[in-house]
């Protein structure tokens, strides 16, 4: 089974050429999941039968001579806040465990399916997506494949761990304040948080309507673009996401090879250096240097922007769950329950001011994009912390681990900018750390081209050494990341 290709791009190509059957891929993938998931706790449900029947359907279609699909035979999994037909959508919360099963797949799960993907299961997350470590009191912590005593990041921790361990090349996650980017950074995989409103959220469990984004995590920059292209498109029939911008598909896969030719790059300094460890700063400098950064930029009032995101998140999240907080407090995650409740009780003025700051901050940052096309910043302040670790030290200051993991991601998603994360392994490092590649609204293509360029330069990629499982990494360190 180790002979099978492991990236999505390679799997789809091998399937199209008839070198491998979808069933072979599905079987090998399910074996890998069965072997490694017990120590990772990445999956909360494995949909083996569905993956096999989807595989058989693809094999039958190929036998009939039908044209191959872009993600044909590519195994994937989704954070357990995506609806999967016939299963209860948990959103990491025991609170929801008694809900009826979903009637249909979430819009993005449908798109992955239509593109030929094989759904392997649902992935663990912080309860209700409120957290950055996937230390889920009810469903257990997800462990980092590079060091099982450490967190996988969160809230899409199961996504980060499943891709990093080579279980699947693509996972779908959600990002409200950093929940795709943090696990991508700590597990060392690629991730994309598209522009707010780009991908429809129908059929996924909400957290903060005005900040929720869905997006892919992947084993290579090309896989990330491939998945993103398959996910694009306006609300489909019956789509219910009022924030979905209804934009036409703007494919990115073909533009990757252009790299950053003609684009102006800058590195974010100021707050993004102050809130970063030396390792995280080195990573952003390394990426900046590789991508030909013109210099450093300091954005105004980033700390206040992050604070405003924090306030809005608590207020909206708290309001969403107030009734359950009143009636079923014991079914909440103790690590976030009182934060949600405090959010629900907050004076409206605080939220109002946070929203005003958001409008102002968005304008200021958009002005920056007149002179620059790509901004670079670390994705997390530090590499993966230990499970249960309460505090971490950044530049001599002791901070609470769980909320602080999002210090660098929160100000960016706050204003909906598209961001890709590319994982770096610095000299001698035993753990990866990601950089954020940030572009103007609707320019996911630039984020992805930057990720691809970093990978092509040999600076970014999934573990060059493989994981502690010895799962062979995707062949992503050659100069042709495709």
């Amino acid at each position: 089974m180790s002979d099978f290709p492991t990236t999505a791009t390679a799997i789809a190509a091998a399937f199209a050429r008839g070198e491998v059957s979808a069933r072979e891929i599905a079987t090998a993938t399910l074996e890998r999941i069965a072997a490694h998931n017990p120590s990772l706790n990445a999956y909360t449900a494995i949909t083996a039968e569905r993956a096999l029947s989807e595989a058989d359907a693809l094999d039958a279609a190929r036998a009939r001579g039908e044209p191959s699909k872009p993600l044909a035979a590519v195994p994937f999994a989704v954070k357990n806040l995506f609806d999967i037909a016939g299963m209860t959508t948990l959103a990491g919360a025991r609170l929801l465990a008694g809900n009826p099963p979903a009637a249909a797949d979430a819009a993005l799960v449908q798109r992955m399916h239509s593109a030929g993907g094989l759904l392997t299961g649902a992935l663990n997350m912080d309860a209700l997506a409120y957290g950055f470590t996937t230390e889920n009191t009810h469903y257990g912590a997800t462990r980092n494949p590079h060091d099982l005593t450490r967190t996988a990041g969160g809230s899409s921790g199961g996504c980060g761990a499943a891709v990093a361990a080579g279980l699947v090349p693509i996972a779908l996650g959600s990002d409200t304040n950093g929940s795709i980017r943090v696990p991508a950074s700590l597990c060392g995989v690629f991730g994309l948080k598209p522009t707010y409103g780009r991908l429809p959220r129908s059929g996924s469990f909400p957290f903060v309507h005005g900040l929720d984004h869905l997006g892919p995590l992947a084993a290579s920059a090309a896989d990330l673009a491939l998945a993103y292209d398959a996910l694009q498109g306006p609300n489909g029939e019956g789509g219910r996401d009022p924030a979905c911008a209804q934009r036409a598909i703007e494919t990115t896969t073909d533009s990757l090879v252009r790299g950053l030719e003609g684009l102006r790059v800058a590195r974010l300094a100021g707050y993004f250096d102050d809130q970063a460890s030396a390792t995280a700063r080195t990573a952003s400098e390394r990426a900046a240097q590789t991508l030909g950064s013109l210099g450093d930029i300091v954005l105004p009032e980033v700390a206040a922007a992050r604070a405003a995101a924090f306030v809005i998140t608590a207020a909206e999240g708290g309001a969403l769950h107030l009734q359950a907080l009143r009636e079923r407090p014991d079914d909440f995650e103790p690590l976030s329950r009182e934060r949600l409740l405090a959010g629900a009780l907050m004076p409206a003025l605080w939220v109002e001011q946070a929203q005003k700051l958001r409008t102002w901050f968005r304008r200021r940052v958009l002005e920056v994009f007149r002179d620059v096309d790509l901004l670079i910043a670390p994705a997390t302040p530090v590499t993966a912390t230990l499970l249960g670790q309460e505090t971490m030290v950044i530049n001599g200051r002791s901070l609470r681990t769980r909320p602080s993991m999002g210090l660098l991601t929160q100000p960016i998603s706050f204003i909906g900018l598209p961001v890709a994360v590319a994982p770096l392994w610095l000299e001698g490092a035993t753990l990866p750390i990601g950089v954020q590649l940030i572009a103007a609204p609707w320019r996911e293509d630039i984020c992805l081209r930057a990720a691809w360029a970093l990978q092509a330069a040999g600076v970014a990629g999934v573990s060059p050494k493989g994981t502690s499982f010895g799962v062979s990494p995707a062949p992503t360190f050659d100069n042709d990341p495709r």
Binding site: V311, L322, Q353, K356
Partner: protein
């Protein structure tokens, strides 16, 4: 920090007969508190206020009359005391007793006493493995290996105390409960054992509940303190703050009565008789009669234990909560949300964090054009 233990409205009544009539002695009367992972909590209060009863309820060696106890999120209040011997919980909550002589079997050497705990409560098997666990624990408590083969009567009080502590920590509990661990020791030995406990607290990843009527000891050793009076908690908060700025009249009196303290004589308790724990009047403050501040209202309305400021709670009509606490209580009432006192305390912390964030947001002065006037036309 994650919560290790939570007590909710815990009650223990003992049936007693007074002049042939059946009555109830309210030894523990509606206690609410929590102990976080890694935290050292002190429990102080005068003799007979219910400290040992509470300890026996928490270690589940005494059945609870009413209320809930949660340990790591699991309800443990209903485990019958007699079922406790075989319960996995027994390993997680360990106890060090007041009198080391009483609690050690005279026919066991120190090594056997410590090894027995390993054998009964852990999966460690084989003489060599058990021996190494025993020796590690002995080293932890500073018990020289050559003393391990002695019997209790061949050990000093301080050495016996170390054996008692080693026996408790050898099974690596999550919570260590110490009921007056130094009361039976000579003053000179007390100091040494306290130093040992202080070191264990820093070295071992566990929580401590430390019962004492010695305020100075609690001040030195504990992160947080709870003050008990007649079966109820009257004040709780970070140990340093409570000693520096006691809120409740009873705590003030305890501190004022410390020898060489800076307390005020007007804080001392007045001469009235203490109320009885037998069938107490639920509408009267328990301190009334001895309280230097007591007024008419205290006789007819018992003050609830409420949040006063971040991390601090007190039960007295005259201790006013901060505006933030008043706001949070009012908001909870509006939304009809009921929270346990432990959750209420955590709520203040979270609310403060949000307030900090809101303050950061407000520190940015936005130009007027970014705050557009409302537009009524579509």
């Amino acid at each position: 920090m994650s919560q290790l233990l939570e007590a909710i409205d815990v009650v223990k009544c003992f049936p007693v007969r007074i002049k042939g009539k059946k009555k109830l002695l309210h030894a523990v009367d509606g206690l609410n508190f929590h102990i976080d992972a890694g935290e050292t909590v002190g429990l102080v209060g005068e003799s007979g206020c219910g400290k040992s009863t509470l300890v026996r309820l928490l270690t589940r060696t005494l059945d609870i009359t009413d209320g809930h106890v949660r340990f790591r999120g699991q309800g443990i209040g209903l485990i019958a005391a007699r079922a406790m011997a075989d319960h996995p919980l027994r390993r997680e909550i360990q106890m060090v007793f007041q009198d080391p002589t009483d609690s050690l079997n005279p026919r066991y050497t120190a090594r056997q006493a410590i090894a027995e705990a390993v054998h009964l409560l852990t999966d460690t098997r084989g003489a060599a493995a058990i021996d190494s666990a025993v020796e590690e624990a002995a080293a932890h408590v500073g018990l020289p290996p050559e003393l391990l083969d002695r019997y209790p009567h061949q050990l000093s009080g301080g050495q016996k105390a170390r054996v008692g502590i080693a026996r408790a920590i050898v099974v690596k509990p999550r919570l260590l409960v110490l009921d007056e661990p130094t009361a039976a020791l000579d003053v000179s030995v007390q100091a040494v054992i306290l130093q040992l406990l202080d070191r264990l607290k820093r070295e071992m990843n566990m929580s401590f509940l430390f019962v004492s009527h010695d305020l100075n000891v609690v001040r030195l050793l504990c992160d947080r303190v709870m003050v008990m009076y007649l079966g109820q908690i009257v004040e709780s908060g970070p140990a340093r703050e409570v000693f520096e700025r006691p809120l409740h009249p009873y705590t003030r009196a305890l501190i004022a009565s410390l020898p060489g303290g800076h307390g005020n004589d007007s804080d001392l308790l007045v001469g009235g008789d203490p109320q009885s724990p037998i069938d107490p009047d639920a509408h009267r403050c328990r301190l009334f009669g001895r309280c230097p501040r007591g007024v008419e209202r205290c006789q007819t309305q018992a003050p609830p234990l409420r949040e006063i400021s971040r991390g601090r709670a007190a039960a007295c009509h005259f201790v006013a909560p901060t505006q933030r606490e008043v706001f949070v209580d009012a908001a909870l009432a509006v939304h009809k949300v009921h929270v346990t006192p432990a959750r209420r305390a955590a709520l203040t912390t979270e609310f403060d964090r949000l307030a900090d964030m809101a303050r950061q947001v407000q520190s940015v002065r936005l130009p007027d054009d970014d705050a557009p006037a409302p537009q009524y036309r579509p």
